[in-house]
């Protein structure tokens, strides 16, 4: 672990001193969304509903950014064609 700052040097008021993207929250995940591209209609609802912006459009498809996906399953729940399944992490 990197050396953590003491109270004398931390910015005041608990203001965030690092970017939130520095924290890879993907390792909180118990269930992993897997997209079946044979069923996906590219309707983008999963992209729209993802609370962590962890579903991104790569130019051709929606893909899951597993660095930040916490596995909440909202995408799978919202998918109108049931193209997303929640698979237990190994």
């Amino acid at each position: 672990m990197a050396q953590q700052a003491g109270w004398r040097s931390l910015p005041k008021g608990g203001v965030a001193f690092r970017l939130s993207t520095d924290y890879k929250t993907g390792d909180w995940r118990a269930l992993k969304p897997v997209i079946d591209y044979n069923k996906c209609t590219k309707c983008m609802l999963c992209w729209l509903f993802c609370p962590d912006m962890a579903i991104v459009w790569d130019g051709e498809n929606v893909v899951v950014n597993y660095d930040y996906c916490k596995g909440c399953g909202i995408c799978a729940n919202e998918c109108p064609v049931k193209a997303i399944s929640m698979v237990p992490e190994a």
């Binding site: 109270w7 910015p11 608990g14 203001v15 690092r18 970017l19």
Partner: protein
């Protein structure tokens, strides 16, 4: 209030003499302090402050954004948001309203937001009561706010303006509660001297200036304020790896407060010719006193007049008026009280099952001394009960008799209650 020997920058004849009650005095002070945002919810006995201030807003006399909210919880929340955006912010409340705010009070101080709040002190329910005691101020004792107490309407005006300067000082950055006794001050007319607008503006250095912060994701220091152009994140989740450091940082900030309060008190003195002791406490006849009364708020005025009378009768009694309750000036208190034989801590509030909160602090302060005065705690004036001068006089005379016998018991006493 000491009289100036050196001519102040704004002598009395250039100040504005007005007859106002405590609430109006605070409203005028806020008007002159270039406040950006006021968010408040009405509650007796504070109501007149924001009522009067909303008139200034409606008349276009101030540039302040007035946010009428649906509760005190929302009032303090709106203040937190506005202060985090860099605004100079004011609110006012009392009693139950303050109780509803408590959750956000802790957040305001931890985020280091220099909000100023007037608390027109009122008893807490139940039984429901709208009159004065200090239960509400004691309720927020541990919330991380600076707590100042005014003795009269003039002091309420002066302290409100000073509070912005103290809160926003780079060494402090903490919210300040200005306490004025409900009805005794909030609704009582007094002739007071107000400064011309431009003098207050100059004293505060114009609008609020935001301090700078260095974070990893900007190359330069940036203003410590919310701004979409250079986003900062306030109020983040902070677990076992950083919470402790942030708390200690907030607690340590309190250590700079006495110094700043003294400086501001002196600066105010040079400007107006008025000061309140050293800004932290004000002694009256304490140098050679055998018995010292210690009090906060309007009761100190009554006690001072009794002390003056008893001094004329030859009794060695003094009064120490405490103006700053948080941070508590332990060392100064011990210094001032160390030569007395007995100290009576006079309080308008109690922690049931214990003593009055002020008594506990004084007790702690005196522990450092090798030889300590005896200490008793008088609880008086709960729910607005009058403190009559005769009552104080009899109390002091009784204490002198007890001193002679050498038996001073019990430590906790009530003054002015029926048995």
């Amino acid at each position: 209030m000491a009289q100036a020997l050196v001519k102040p920058k704004i002598p009395v004849e250039k100040q504005v003499l007005m007859t106002v009650n405590g609430n109006e005095a605070v409203a005028y002070a806020v008007k002159q302090s270039l406040v950006d945002v006021v968010a408040a919810y009405p509650i007796t006995p504070q109501t007149i402050i924001v009522e009067k201030f909303s008139e200034f807003v409606a008349n276009g006399e101030v540039d302040t954004v007035f946010v009428p909210v649906e509760s005190e919880h929302s009032a303090m929340s709106a203040c937190v948001g506005a202060a985090a955006a860099g605004a100079r912010v004011f609110t006012a409340t009392s009693s139950q309203g303050l109780a509803l705010m408590v959750e956000i009070l802790y957040i305001a101080s931890a985020l280091r937001l220099p909000i100023v709040m007037a608390v027109a002190n009122r008893a807490l329910s139940a039984p429901i009561n709208i009159h004065n005691d200090h239960s509400d101020a004691y309720l927020m004792r541990d919330a991380g706010w600076i707590q100042l107490f005014a003795e009269n309407v003039q002091e309420a005006y002066d302290t409100t303006i000073q509070a912005f300067k103290i809160a926003e000082d780079e060494r402090v950055l903490l919210p300040v509660a200005v306490n004025l006794d409900g009805f005794f001050l909030s609704h009582t007319l007094e002739n007071i001297y107000m400064l011309p607008d431009e003098s207050v503006r100059e004293f505060l250095g114009g609008y609020r200036r935001v301090s700078k912060v260095k974070v990893d994701y900007f190359d330069e220091e940036v203003p410590l304020a919310l701004n979409p152009a250079r986003p900062l994140s306030f109020g983040n989740l902070d677990l076992y790896d950083y919470y402790f450091e942030h708390k200690v940082q907030q607690v340590e900030a309190m250590k700079s407060v006495p110094e700043v309060v003294r400086e501001v008190n002196e600066e105010w003195f040079k400007l107006t010719g008025r000061r309140y002791g050293d800004g932290i406490m004000d002694g009256y006849g304490i140098e050679d006193a055998d018995i010292i009364l210690l009090a906060m708020g309007s009761g100190a005025g009554t006690m001072r007049s009794v002390v003056r009378k008893l001094r004329r009768e030859g009794l060695r009694v003094g009064l120490l008026k405490l103006r700053m309750f948080r941070p508590f000036p332990f060392k100064d208190i011990a210094d001032k009280l160390k030569n007395a034989k007995l100290v009576a801590v006079m309080e308008k509030g109690i922690s049931p099952g214990s003593y009055g909160p002020l008594f506990l602090e004084v007790n702690t302060a005196l522990y450092e001394l090798k030889e300590r005065p005896l200490l008793v705690n008088y609880i008086y004036g709960l729910g607005g009960r009058d403190l009559v001068p005769d009552m104080v006089e009899n109390m002091v005379k009784g204490l002198f008799k007890e001193l002679e016998t050498g038996l001073v018991q019990p430590r906790l006493r009530y003054l002015g209650v029926r048995e």
